[in-house]
């Protein structure tokens, strides 16, 4: 493994120069001798991120620091913009104001919106020039960022929903983890996982989040488990079909029957022991590891009629509006951040999935998984995951529209037939402009 210093001229010179990369594991490329634009100091590249503080924020800081220290030609200035939603809002405002960053982290539900408005840079030339081994990226994750054969979004902080449970609570109830394999056995044993103080429940068997905490993402797997779907790839909305309604009413009953709770921050409430089990992002694992005060463990998502689990999280995109030199430099950072070494480090710190196959198979990661079997569950589950339905990720605000319907079901006890019929109507209406834009862009 060699670390090659970047020649500043190569950055300014042209696409081929991007090969002289800091990316670990890449071969040293030719060094240009021709003089180029003379710069004073490193080329500054602005990168907008949604990670700050906590396990994930610290790991993000460390990656940027490592990149900046690995060479002297590019300085990544990473700026925290808030949640995925706030980052997308800031980027939209920046587009209007004409002052976009060079590169941004964009979540699964947001990158497509910027793609539709042709604001993202196709990365294929950089990928080719940088000798990026795209076949080594986990296929499903890599392919999600492809439109019309071009790459717009490189997987970075990719996650899947995962089942977390309080092992101490399970032991106290005299149960074993096999009950989490199926929703039916969870329901059967839910009472044993409940703790009450008078008529107040101090421990629920299971916990739901609210719309703002991505209940629609977690429910994506559940609706598949019930043989339903939000929509088909052609934006035909199917959430209000029988299977979807059954899944929705299963959620409603979980709360109505008292064994599940619904709160604003279900991960925090898992950490404090209110919920004996939850579904949450693999990316929450670092935080749970830091904060849970009890023995906890992970499992595959439960099944109903079948298994279902989706991918999620965020990736990196370069703005089409950036200067050519900055685009190249930004791609160097993308290449570095998703290198085998970086993705391994990132995955270990945060709980997000390694995005490289060779990273998953590496001795380092295998040793990590031996020590952290909870993290291994996520990687073992990965091959069975699938990209999400178009209604959530491609319809603008689809996540919050579905999430609003799910809140009605879990918080207000609404019949899923009514709530989802309303959701389907809104989704169909909101899909129209997207279909028109897609037609114009992709034909």
């Amino acid at each position: 493994m060699t670390t090659t210093k970047i020649n500043r001229r190569s950055i300014v010179k042209g696409a081929a120069g991007a090969g002289a990369a800091a990316a670990i594991g890449s071969k040293a490329s030719s060094v240009f001798s021709a003089p180029a634009v003379i710069q004073s100091g490193p080329l500054e590249v602005t990168y907008w991120t949604s990670f700050e503080g906590g396990a994930n924020g610290d790991a993000q800081d460390e990656l940027v620091k490592r990149f900046n220290e690995s060479q002297s030609d590019i300085q990544i200035n990473h700026e925290f913009q808030g949640s995925y939603e706030e980052t997308a809002q800031a980027l939209t405002a920046a587009v209007q104001g004409g002052s976009t960053p060079d590169m941004s982290l964009l979540s699964d539900v947001w990158w497509f919106k910027f793609y539709l408005s042709q604001l993202l840079q196709p990365l294929d030339d950089y990928i080719a020039a940088g000798n990026v081994d795209s076949a080594d990226y986990v296929d499903s994750l890599w392919n999600e960022g492809v439109r019309q054969g071009a790459q717009y979004w490189v997987p970075f902080a990719r996650s899947t929903p995962l089942f977390y449970y309080n092992a101490d609570a399970l032991n106290e109830a005299g149960l074993d983890a096999s009950i989490f394999q199926n929703w039916d056995t969870i329901v059967e044993n839910a009472d044993a996982l409940m703790v009450k103080d008078g008529d107040q429940t101090t421990q629920f068997a299971f916990g739901h989040p609210n719309a703002a905490s991505y209940i629609a993402w977690l429910f994506q797997g559940v609706i598949w488990q019930f043989n339903g779907e939000y929509s088909d790839p052609d934006f035909t909305i199917n959430i209000d079909e029988d299977a979807g309604i059954e899944a929705g009413n299963f959620y409603r009953d979980s709360v109505e029957n008292g064994w599940a709770g619904a709160t604003e921050d279900h991960v925090a409430d898992f950490n404090t022991g209110l919920f004996a089990s939850i579904m949450a992002s693999t990316g929450s694992m670092g935080g749970i590891r830091e904060n849970a005060t009890f023995e906890w463990a992970t499992a595959f998502l439960p099944e109903k009629y079948t298994f279902g689990c989706c991918t999620g999280g965020s990736g990196l995109s370069i703005l089409a509006s950036a200067d050519d030199a900055n685009k190249e430099a930004a791609f160097e950072f993308i290449k570095f951040s998703t290198s085998v070494e970086s993705t391994s480090y990132w995955a270990q710190q945060s709980g997000y999935m390694p995005v490289r196959k060779s990273a998953i198979d590496s001795e380092e990661m295998q040793a990590f998984y031996d020590e952290n079997p909870n993290a291994r569950t996520a990687v073992d589950q990965l091959p069975q995951t699938e990209p999400q339905d178009s209604a959530r990720v491609f319809i603008p605000n689809g996540d919050q529209i579905i999430g609003g319907g799910l809140e009605q079901v879990t918080v207000s006890g609404a019949d899923a037939a009514d709530a989802f019929a309303e959701v389907a109507g809104i989704l169909e209406e909101e899909a129209q402009p997207i279909l028109e834009q897609l037609e114009a862009l992709e034909g």
Binding site: Q89, V95, Q96, S117, N210, E264, T272, P396, Q408, V411
Partner: protein
């Protein structure tokens, strides 16, 4: 207050009449140049940052636009029709009314009560005044974060306090029926200092002779309050009603930090809806239409209050 205003206006009018050059208006006259010099910069800034965005907002409310695409589709009154028919928007209007009436009503009543207390000759009076006013100076976002902890039904300070009386804390921020009361409590806590200080100023402006005269006439404490204090405070109360309603209408920070308008839209007020449609759902047109509804409502309230104040409010 108003009388001073009237005399002021009259004086200006008079001076203008005297100063106006004979033989018609000359745009290069000294007064016009002075007028342009004084008013021009403000008018320019207002036009740039208030009037132009308002006109632009009206235009945007007749379009469909996602804030990103280069194309803005004209849709006529579709956005308003959508709002008119949309059940969420109806709920939002109801929430706004609920929030405004409760927050303004309670903070005015409490503010008056605290002001009456602090108007007494008590020890530590100045310290108490500072303490009451302090929350008003804090940022709503910071307050929201702290209060979210206070409201926690298991570990929160409020749950602890209710526990002393064997009352179980409601799950404030996760239940649709409790989330709005929680927001209202925080809003009142933050704004009580403002209403108190303004009422206090009003109380101190009431001449002592009126109370003395009332005493001679045999009025007890209640009647002195009813017949002297309240009428003399009416201009202050009017001022507070107007400013409080307008500020609750625009109260965004606490809601955004504490509930994001949820659960199930139970704390989604007009101003939050404008934000949500614009920057979460990226429906700039609908957001602009809702903003226009907000503007018209605020304008209507101001006009009604102005009309009402002319007949009912007593200016000392």
């Amino acid at each position: 207050m108003a009388e001073t205003g009237r005399t002021g206006t009259a004086a200006i009018d008079e001076s203008l009449v005297i100063a106006r050059p004979r033989g018609g208006r000359n745009i290069f006259s000294k007064e016009w140049i002075l007028f342009i010099l004084f008013v021009g910069p403000n008018l320019f800034l207002f036009s740039l940052f208030s009037y132009w965005p308002m006109i632009e907002n009206v235009r945007l409310s007749t379009q469909r636009w996602d804030l990103l695409s280069p194309v803005r589709l004209p849709v006529g009154l579709d956005n308003f029709e959508y709002l008119w028919q949309n059940s969420t928007f109806h709920k939002v209007l109801w929430n706004t009314l609920y929030f405004t009436v409760a927050a303004v009503g309670i903070s005015l009543a409490l503010g008056l009560l605290v002001a009456l207390l602090l108007n007494q000759r008590l020890r530590w009076r100045n310290g108490a005044r500072a303490v009451v006013f302090a929350p008003f100076m804090l940022s709503g976002a910071a307050i929201g974060i702290v209060w979210a902890y206070i409201f926690d039904p298991r570990f929160g300070f409020l749950a602890e306090m209710l526990g002393w009386f064997s009352i179980r804390s409601p799950d404030w921020l996760n239940r649709p029926e409790w989330a709005m009361p929680a927001i209202i409590i925080v809003y009142i806590w933050k704004n009580l200092g403002f209403t108190t200080v303004i009422f206090l100023a009003g109380l101190q402006g009431i001449p002592q002779d009126l109370y003395d005269a009332a005493k001679i006439d045999g009025a007890n404490v209640f009647w002195r309050f009813r017949s002297v204090t309240l009428p003399m405070l009416s201009p202050i109360a009017f001022f507070l009603v107007v400013t409080s309603i307008l500020s609750t209408f625009q109260s965004f920070d606490i809601i955004s930090v504490m509930t994001d308008g949820g659960p199930v839209d139970s704390t989604n007020t007009l101003i939050y809806y404008v934000y949500e449609q614009g920057f979460v759902a990226f429906n700039a047109g609908r957001s602009a239409a809702a903003a226009l509804v907000l503007f018209v409502l605020m304008m209507a309230i101001t006009l009604v209050q102005l009309r009402y104040s002319e007949s009912k409010v007593h200016y000392g």
